[in-house]
Amino acid sequence: MEYPKVLELMKQRASAVRTVVSEVRSMREVLDYVLDITRKQEGSSVAAPDFCRGSAALAALCEKNGLALLTENLRDHISKISTGLTMARWGIAETATLVVDSTSEDLRIATMLCETHVAVLPKSNIVPDATALQEEMIRMFEAAPRYLAFISGASRTADIERVLTIGVHGPQELHVLVLEADEL
């Protein structure tokens, strides 16, 4: 399966788990999206531990809008993270899954303890199913230690009367921004 079909499949499967998938053309659009959503939710900070490329622009943007930008030692800010902005290594269309290399502790905290997780997914890294990533995953596992996360939606539970409820421990929302590879 090729692009754009995989993207279509991913979008379709994402809607089933209330993941918002959007296509963006540039890093600038990513930043606007993050700013927009953080403001809308009355958030106060953006945690972006692995955003080297966009960091200057992001820092400027945050500063201009009165948002705290957190990039390291996130453990010290655990209860203050509004939006977590991270990269996703791959996307798996069949299950609308993001594959995020979460080996760095800061990255884990940014994705687990934010209110809203925004992940940037390079367009060319969407595969139809997990089997397609087998080799790559093994290679990553072999370069241990490694903490690899499959994320498919926002944190959910159905433990009270089987009523689906979002945001029990982790993020309440998951947004995926599909970006042209050469914009990275």
Binding site: T103, A130, Q134, E142, Y147, L148, T157, E161, V168
Partner: protein, 720 residues
């Protein structure tokens, strides 16, 4: 500490209480009704049977090699900075974990969901050692606060209502909670547990996979608590049963394809976390996590070498065998397992938690096969349950009197049939001697939820010659395998078969030395007796003599076809006969539609409205689902679909004598569903189901008529 009654009387009392719990009844019924559709939806485009075969195969390759896989895993994990422990017993595992806590000056522990930790009762152990342990999965936290065990392997608090939770949370927080604000209560848990995460020094998780190839563990969760447990505290301990070892990522991904789909109808769980080695942890002095993996044996390695029970280790803990179990649905998990719940719980309790906890619950199975059909690891659960039952009898060295009776009577066909004939004239004295209800299909009237049929005036075998004149130049030579109920209670169903087939060139025979198929013996854990009658029947019905062997009883048919192989295993010429028999056995509807190829022109039109009950042993045992429904249509009847058509009617042979209240409840629901269609006749294709359903409707004065499919089809057949 959870308690499971070992005394059947006490157990039945609990069951009665559960039946009276309206919330539980409604919740589990809603869940059971919604589950099949969401499961089917999740598997859309995936060949479930092929996937299950793949998983079973991968597991079967791993199970004999667990020690080797453990060695490989350990090498990789140690290289990545993990300390790997091996615990032979539950106590050893708990002690090791307490020691790790002690060595690391731990005070507070957060836990992710782990059935293995439930198995070892790790929480109470650690609490006794003075640690504060908090479950962080919402459902687990709720039951921990209530001091209960899980009532489902995937949905541990499914037995509780929003009111129960609100009451509990009000107590915990000291603030009034609104039961109708589930979202609000979830947020309470988020807040309370977040604090626990931040304070904890140690996190304990389970794992769904341990991959030898790379020393990776895989955790499947929805809430994300598993990620926090493995990230925030400076020490991480994973407690993993050795049966979770798989050779490679490929096998893990296969299991992952089935697990969430089969468990909750999700394409994938929200978080799947793959951890290889000790990763960064800034709260640890070294900057790196203290990571320990404790592998638990607790009998698994011995199980892996058991020729019969090794397959139980294929279990991927999806919980589906509970989801589809008609009894689970009536009484809930606390009455249907000890720690492990559902069909697999009935099996594993004996091994992990002992005879006392297993002896009552293991009797509580209808052999309806629903669990076997959904199991993604193709575990023959109903068979294993019977094997445990048998073991319980063996270990205790005593059996119910009716087992001994059955053993004696069934071993000798002449005696058995003699007693059946006598029973007709002397039902009373026999009943009083306690004989009659111990015969395979006859029960005393003490359980008055259904009327029992009278024995036929003349058994089928005595009128066979009169009913079955020779056919000239027959096209087919067919043996009828009657079974006890057709022979001695409902010979008219066989008569209907003969009348329907008239003009189609079928020469039927009724091999007179045939006897009970042996399923009742198997159901009661009497394998030797089951084997003896199997051999008698194989001698009586030589498959080489016939083109087909037709049966009107789904239970006999599926027992002959599926279980005889295992019963005569190792007996070389007989095993060949069984294989031949297997190829020739057909149920009534398949014979009439597929072999005789009957068409609408053979039948009158504008027949009655009928509802259909699919016998367990037909739709799952023999896998026949289309033919009977097609036959109803061909024969001009107006077939109306009803709710839960393929759910057991509650007969289950001796089951209905052991657990009359469960049998009665399943029957009540079945009849309600059938009556709701407005049909005049409820049709089924097993005389055991006819006995149950007809007895039930008569008892409650129901309007619906219960008929064997051969009878209704015969009424529609044009006379020739």
């Amino acid at each position: 500490m959870i308690k499971t009654p070992s005394d059947i009387k006490e157990y039945r009392k609990n069951l009665k209480n559960a039946l009276g719990n309206q919330f539980l009844g409604t919740t589990l019924d809603t869940f059971a009704s919604a589950y099949p559709a969401s499961r089917e939806n999740a598997f859309a485009g995936i060949d479930f049977d092929a996937l299950a075969c793949d998983i079973a195969k991968a597991k079967d390759e791993a199970i004999p090699n667990l020690e080797k896989l453990l060695g490989e895993f350990t090498t990789k994990a140690v290289r990545a900075g993990v300390t790997v422990h091996f615990a032979r017993t539950a106590f050893e595992a708990n002690s090791m974990i307490a020691q790790i806590a002690k060595d690391n000056q731990v005070k507070r522990i957060v836990k992710g969901k782990s059935m293995t930790a439930e198995e070892t009762f790790l929480n109470s152990f650690l609490e006794r050692e003075g640690y504060e342990v908090t479950e962080t999965d919402l459902g687990e936290w709720i039951i921990q606060l209530r001091g209960e065990g899980p009532s489902h392997m995937v949905l541990p608090a499914i037995h509780l209502s929003r009111r129960d939770v609100a009451e509990l949370f009000t107590k915990v927080t000291g603030e009034q909670q609104d039961p109708d604000d589930i979202n609000g209560m979830v947020k309470v848990a988020r807040r309370e547990l977040r604090q626990k995460f931040l304070e904890a020094d140690m996190g304990i998780s389970g794992a769904n996979f341990a991959i030898s190839q790379t020393g990776t563990i895989g955790l499947v969760t929805n809430e994300g608590n598993g990620r926090l447990v493995t990230t925030l505290p400076r020490v991480h301990v994973a407690l993993i049963g050795v049966d979770k070892l798989v050779p490679d990522l490929k096998s893990a991904l296969k299991i992952l394809t089935a697990l969430p789909r089969n468990a909750t109808g999700q394409a994938i769980s929200t978080y799947v976390t793959w951890i290889t080695g000790a990763t960064e942890c800034k709260s640890a002095e070294s900057g790196r996590k203290q990571m320990h993996i404790v592998f638990l044996d607790n009998g698994r390695l011995a199980l892996s070498k058991d020729p019969l029970f090794a397959q139980a280790l294929r279990c991927i803990r999806c919980g589906a065998c509970a989801n589809v179990c008609p009894i689970y649905k009536l009484v809930g998990g606390h009455n249907y397992g000890h720690v492990y719940i559902g069909a697999i719980g009935l099996v594993m309790t004996y091994f992990y938690h002992g005879l006392e906890n297993a002896r009552a619950i293991v009797k509580n199975c209808l052999n309806c096969q629903a669990c076997k059909k959904v199991c993604p690891a193709r575990i023959n659960l109903p068979d294993l349950i019977k094997a445990v039952l048998r073991t319980v009898y063996q270990v205790e060295g005593k059996k119910p009197i009716r087992n001994i009776m059955l053993q004696k009577v069934l071993a000798d066909r002449r005696l058995f049939h003699f007693m059946l004939r006598r029973a007709r004239f002397a039902q009373k004295p026999f009943a009083e001697e306690g004989y009659i209800r111990h015969l395979p299909m006859l029960f005393s009237g003490e359980h008055g939820f259904r009327s029992l049929p009278a024995l036929a005036k003349v058994p089928l075998r005595d009128m066979w010659e009169r009913l079955n004149p020779p056919v000239e130049n027959p096209k087919y030579r067919v043996a009828l395998f009657g079974g006890c109920l057709i022979d001695f209670v409902y010979p008219e169903q066989a008569e209907a078969l003969l009348r329907i087939c008239r003009g189609y060139g079928v020469q039927f025979e009724y091999p007179m030395d045939q006897t009970c198929c042996g399923l009742p013996a198997q159901m009661m854990g009497e394998k030797e007796t089951a084997r003896e009658v199997a051999i008698q029947n194989l001698k009586a019905v030589d498959p080489a003599r016939y083109d087909y062997i037709v049966t009107l009883c789904a239970s006999c048919g599926s027992h002959l076809k599926e279980n005889y192989i295992a019963l005569v295993a190792g007996d070389s010429p007989l095993a060949v006969k069984v294989a031949q028999l297997k190829d020739k056995i057909l149920d009534f509807s398949s014979f009439v539609t597929r072999v005789l190829g009957m068409v609408p022109e053979d039948f009158k039109s504008a027949g009655q409205k009928v509802a259909y009950h699919a016998p367990c042993h037909l739709c799952r045992g023999l896998g026949v689902t289309r033919e009977p429904r097609k036959l109803l249509e061909i024969s001009g009847l107006e077939y109306i679909k009803s709710k839960d058509e393929e759910v057991c009617c509650g007969f289950g042979g001796s089951f209905s004598a052991d657990f009359p209240e469960l049998s009665a409840e399943l029957l009540r629901r079945k009849l309600n569903n059938a009556e709701a269609t407005g049909a005049e006749v409820l049709v089924t294709d097993c005389p055991g189901c006819v006995l149950q359903l007809r007895g039930g409707t008569k008892k409650r004065g129901g309007q619906i008529n219960v008929k064997h499919i051969a009878e209704v089809v015969c009424d529609q057949r044009k006379r020739i």
